[in-house]
Amino acid sequence: MLRIHYDDYESLRTHGEETYPNECCGVLLGKNIAGEGNHVRQIVRAGNTRTDSAHNRYHIAPQELVKIQRQARGLGLDIVGFYHSHPDHPAQWSKTDFAEAHWLGCSYIITSVDQGKAVLTNSFLLTGTGEDDKNFEDEPIQIDIATHVAEAEAHNQKGQE
């Protein structure tokens, strides 16, 4: 199970709307809690370097990843996953996503963005011990509103109107 704060969850979905019709990408910082899963404490937006084909590809510059990993270290957190968007495409991993996924034990979040509006957000846990036996597993997302209850409730009510 992936746990993420409501604000971070909304923020990564909004990122996909902002970059539409291109793919957005970013990094999830947090902690892996044994027996529970990845808990996201902070998200970091990243640039998509695939300006040649940004509508159907994403790539985070390794230099930027080095900086983000350093930032995580300073916060006492780890890189526990990544997110990207699928403009006008389902929130399911593609063959390319799978082939290019190498962070075993990390969560890969995908948000579908239809006509500029974020729709579905799914998470996939990259399991296995190496490139030969890796696998994407559907991973439930638990959205935490505990720390900002009032704010989150306001959002919820807006959504129901």
Binding site: E23, C25, V27, N32, R50, S53, N56, R57, Y58, H59, I60, P62, Q63, L65, V66, Q69, R70, R73, D78, I79, V80, F82, H84, H86, P87, H89, W93, S94, K95, T96, D97, E100, A101, H102, W103, L104, G105, C106, Y108, G130
Partner: protein
């Protein structure tokens, strides 16, 4: 020198984010890393001993691939290596 290990490979360094390894060149440091932590080897290198294509290595702020001497670059104990697998994908094949 210190080597920063990415989350998935910490399973092979006893959970350590930063490991300290001695060596005069990047190659020597890698050699020593795989002596200290043998299980990490197959995740970093191909059976032929080449760095796997999706594994990026930074010496301080420089991509090892673009350094003139690459793996033979001399290092001191004050340098830092960061191992960082690539992040990429996309909706189409």
């Amino acid at each position: 020198m210190n080597i920063h290990i990415p989350t998935p490979l910490r399973a092979y360094t006893g959970g350590l984010e930063t490991v300290s390894v001695a060596g005069a060149t990047v190659n020597a440091v890698f050699q020593q890393l795989t002596v200290q932590y043998p299980d990490i080897k197959q995740h970093l290198f191909t059976p032929e001993g080449k760095l796997r294509s999706f594994v990026n290595v930074y010496l301080n702020d420089d991509d090892l691939r673009y350094l003139p001497n690459k793996e033979e670059t001399a290092v001191t104990e004050f340098d830092e290596l960061t191992i960082i697998p690539s992040i990429a994908g996309g909706k189409s094949c």
